[in-house]
Symmetry: C2
């Protein structure tokens, strides 16, 4: 599909490097007052009041995504969103991104344009400026690197290390969907490879597939918490899996925790598809990853402020220093949590 | 050489992702007051007085470097330095870097440690903090992405667009060496492939090889200009080639220029090796790239401040809007400048 065998497609090397960058970034007009200078010089110039937040991530074809079922526009969108998620996980506002792209000549210009359409859409959706990056060729495949910047709240960034004993553990949205979306897509791809005339019906899986292909970062939750005047004591985003992220908070805050299996928020479609695949929904929810929900702790006194909010679920509480992070099962057994999240190696 | 066939080497996948990151970044203690929080959370937290400068670059195996003659420690050093160079090219001070690395399992842990040794050395040499990054596997080869941050001078960043007619065009150091260093290394590598017992004698080429393998960013020139109270009107670093960079300044400042062939600073070793390779030294100096010297313009009134400084050479002057960027040859011919710099595609 992506091989440039069609004569109507434009080979990438027909443009020079500078012309390509100009072409791809011409719609990257900047709109934030904190962007003093965007693309076009040796570096971008930003003016952040207070603290600057910065994070970077790399996405590698064949490791982080499979172009057999990840459309390029979605890939561009997701690459930006997962980086913005890291900024929101500091309680901060995302303001700028830089996107670097290495791409082999098997991709025509039109494919790279699709990718950038997703990048621009994510920037527009989240109100961030694209202020820089790099575009180069690769020997094989597609590699993306995104750096996101933001501004911390005046009260300071929310770290992983601020949780105390008795703080409540809260998660936004629901968990595990992105992983099961990937399982559905991988299954359909296997069927397609065996029978290229197969038309997949993804309708019964639409929520899960969207969680995988078009995740959203919880900018809205940061705003919500500000409106509710709740300042989380610690926070992290769920990229590797709930279990792994809970353990990060515990380790860096030097506390234990009790996570209640029956409190973990699961979408009905997720539960159904886990049954269809004969997978245990709790195991997937704990280990699945890529949900980009926010996991945070709050003081018990703030509970009434968030109680009943459909976006937020209390799933446990932090325990004393020296205690283990543990899962309380539906059978009321207490078992140690294990990090079984996604592994890059 | 890099294949992990030796049982004494440690496979990368014997560590988990988090243990690997911990291992590689444990020596990344931060020392700048502007680094509020370094590696270990969702993002780094920085406190920059005034404007923040940010730039990012990707380095791809087989495109930007060849591990047959680029030792990994040098690669790590160079990857950081070329990004810092972009920060200095804004007249700014570099303060922090983030480094992302994708690496296939053919690299043992010891190879990645070598790479990080170079990254840490560059950070130490330039006084910048390593505050973040990402480490992941790749399907093939090694991909590096570096983001550098810095702080602009109070008078504002020096842009490419600030040159005016009659401003003097100045370059630091000497030009073309990095490209000829690459030619020497590539030739020795061909000889080595034909005869693996061949012992290369790089001594006569030591300066050029060092320019290629261990380039330095001109932090010292930024300090020098501050000491001399010279504020450049425009500036760029020489990554793609002198000719290409001169044309960037002209285009973005909307002026022309006259560049004098006989003024271009060349090292004697560079001239000798160009003769040995039967290459025209001016052509190489104009098109070579990767020198990471600074190219800038100053007001004529500042000439006396820089006159005679061995680090700085006036190589031309800017001409009126609408005139062409041109080269005045030794034969006093005036010919249009062409950008023949390094192409990524």
């Amino acid at each position: 599909m992506l091989e440039n065998k069609e004569p109507t497609k434009t080979p990438l090397d027909s443009l020079g490097e500078f012309a390509l960058i100009d072409h791809l970034t011409k719609s990257a007009t900047t709109s934030l007052p904190s962007t003093v200078l965007g693309i076009g010089d040796d570096a971008a110039v930003l003016k952040h009041d207070g603290e600057t937040i910065v994070s970077t991530d790399m996405l590698i074809e064949g490791i982080h995504f499979d172009l057999a079922f990840m459309p390029l526009k979605h890939l561009g969108y997701k690459a930006v969103v997962v980086n913005l998620s890291d900024i929101y996980a500091m309680g901060a506002q995302a303001t700028q991104v830089l996107v670097s792209l290495a791409v082999s000549n098997r991709f025509p210009l039109e494919a790279v344009e699709e990718l950038y359409a997703g990048i621009h859409l994510a920037c527009k959706t989240y109100g961030v400026d694209l202020v820089g990056g790099d575009t180069t060729s690769s020997q094989q495949g597609l590699q993306l690197s995104v750096t996101a910047l933001g501004t911390a709240p005046k009260t300071g960034a929310v770290l992983r290390s601020g949780a105390s004993e008795n703080d409540l553990l809260v998660v936004s949205g629901d968990i595990g969907g992105a992983y099961m979306g990937l399982q559905v897509l991988a299954r359909e791809n296997e069927v397609f490879k065996a029978n290229p005339k197969h038309q997949p019906d993804l309708e019964p899986y639409s929520y899960l597939v969207e969680r995988q292909l078009k995740p959203e970062a919880r900018k809205d939750v940061i705003s919500l918490l500000q409106d509710l005047k709740v300042r989380p004591t610690s926070m992290i985003d769920i990229s590797d899996g709930l279990s792994s992220e809970v353990m990060h908070l515990c380790k860096q805050s030097e506390v234990g925790c009790r996570l209640y299996e029956d409190k973990i928020p699961l979408d009905p479609q997720f539960i159904n598809v886990c049954e269809e695949f004969s997978l245990d929904s709790t195991t997937i929810a704990l280990s699945g990853g890529e949900d980009y929900e926010l996991l945070f702790t709050i003081k018990q006194g703030d509970f009434t402020k968030i109680k009943g909010n459909p976006n937020l679920t209390v799933i446990g509480h932090m325990t004393a220093k020296g205690t283990e992070p543990s899962l309380v099962t539906r059978a009321e057994e207490v078992i140690p949590l294990k990090a079984q999240g996604w592994k890059a190696f």
